[in-house]
């Protein structure tokens, strides 16, 4: 069996394999700095018990799910309060509750979102308190 244009085909396959595996070998051995969301805001520094709505590990993994639950409950069912597992009651508001403590969106939300390439569109409508004219 004769392979016509063998040089071109094999060169093409090699280039394809190199490109498709690029993300695997490019980052190998290098260390990328982990995103460090900053908790340094006036509201948080005044808190005695530095605890978010739920535990930090839960919030880190599930804050988006919690926000969707808040959204559905307050918009669709008119239930604007969320009782946390430790019994505290919060107003289910993104700008009013979350961003009251985390008033540093750029140093808190954006650092992780940019790192993982997540582009939530919350703030195309919801207002970042510091941005108000």
């Amino acid at each position: 069996m004769k392979l016509y244009n063998g040089v071109k085909i094999i060169a093409g396959i090699v280039i394809f394999v190199v490109l498709i595996t690029f993300p695997f070998w490019y980052g190998k051995g290098k260390t990328f700095p982990q995103p460090a969301p900053s908790l340094d805001t006036p509201a948080i520094s005044q808190l005695k018990d530095k605890r978010c709505v739920e535990e930090t590990a839960f919030m880190r993994a599930n804050h988006m799910k919690l926000l969707v639950t808040w959204r559905e409950a307050s918009v669709r069912e008119g239930n604007r309060h969320y009782s946390a597992t430790d019994g505290r009651i919060f107003e289910a508001k993104l700008s009013g509750t979350c961003l009251k403590c985390h008033s540093n969106k750029q140093q808190f939300c954006d650092r992780c979102h940019n790192y993982v390439g997540a582009k939530p569109n919350c703030f195309s409508c919801h207002i970042i308190p510091g941005e108000v004219k």
């Binding site: 959204r71 918009v75 669709r76 069912e77 008119g78 604007r80 700008s95 009013g96 569109n121 195309s124 409508c125 919801h126 207002i127 308190p129 941005e131 108000v132 004219k133």
Partner: protein
């Protein structure tokens, strides 16, 4: 294989029952009702508004300013792109069937506040393909802007033109942002929400509190002792295009 007549009838009967039983135990209309928050909204309280435009001073736009300021409604001059939650129209435009050339001049010149009629039978809710527009238990026809895909079927369905599309990014057209209420984004429809966010914290709608002459009265239509019920029982009133069967809940005292 031969089947006796008796066996055939048995199989036919069982098959028919298997089709009918699920329909009776969980009918389709019950499924549809479950999607309305709160369920039996007809027996619940119902918010409504009475408007006595004869009390409106000429040129007063306090209600519009208050509403649009509270809800971050953009002020776009181009009439093709403008966004309104509450506006003003002449009597002949608001009540085309009730107006005629021999109305007295004061009636002809009268400008009536127009807003979403918060229909008890809202056509916009029926046509919304994403259930972004929905009716609350208390009768408020509300929008979930998160779900709006901007198809504008609701705008076609609304006989009152109470809905506006954001053809442009609204933020640059908002003079002063109210930090307590979100804006909308380009590509969603918006309308009056009867100030549900104020009702939730025990305040009356922004237009009602802004009106110095008490031309707007807000209350529970299902409560016979409420101010609004006593008022509309005392004065003759009209509803916009009530013959369409939308059961609008804005009552114009004329």
């Amino acid at each position: 294989m031969e089947k006796s007549r008796r066996e055939f009838l048995k199989i036919a009967g069982v098959s028919t029952l298997s089709l009918i039983v699920p329909m009776i135990s969980f009918p389709t209309w019950a499924k549809d009702n479950l999607t309305i928050p709160g369920g039996e909204f007809l027996t619940a309280k119902r918010w409504g508004m009475a408007i006595d435009a004869s009390k409106c001073p000429v040129g007063c736009v306090d209600c519009i300013t208050a509403c649009h300021g509270a809800h971050n409604v953009p002020d776009i001059a181009n009439p093709r792109h403008e966004v309104k939650w509450i506006g003003q129209e002449k009597f002949a435009s608001v009540f085309p069937n009730e107006s005629h050339p021999y109305l007295r001049d004061s009636q002809k010149q009268l400008k009536l506040p127009v807003l979403c009629n918060q229909c008890a039978n809202p056509p916009c809710v029926r046509v919304c393909p994403t259930k972004s527009t929905f009716q609350r238990q208390d009768g408020i026809v509300m929008m979930d802007y998160h779900r709006c895909i901007g198809c504008r079927l609701c705008m076609a369905a609304c006989p009152y033109g109470a809905r506006s599309m954001n053809y442009r990014e609204p933020r640059p057209f908002i003079a002063k942002l109210n930090p307590d209420f979100p804006t909308r984004t380009k590509g969603v429809v918006e309308k009056c929400n009867f100030c549900q966010e104020r009702l939730a914290i025990g305040l009356k709608p922004a237009c009602v509190t802004a009106c110095k002459n008490r031309a707007l009265v807000f209350g529970d239509m299902e409560n016979p002792q409420s101010e609004i019920r006593l008022l509309i029982e005392k004065h003759f009133n009209l509803r916009r295009r009530a013959n369409l069967g939308t059961q609008p809940q804005i009552y114009y005292i004329v």
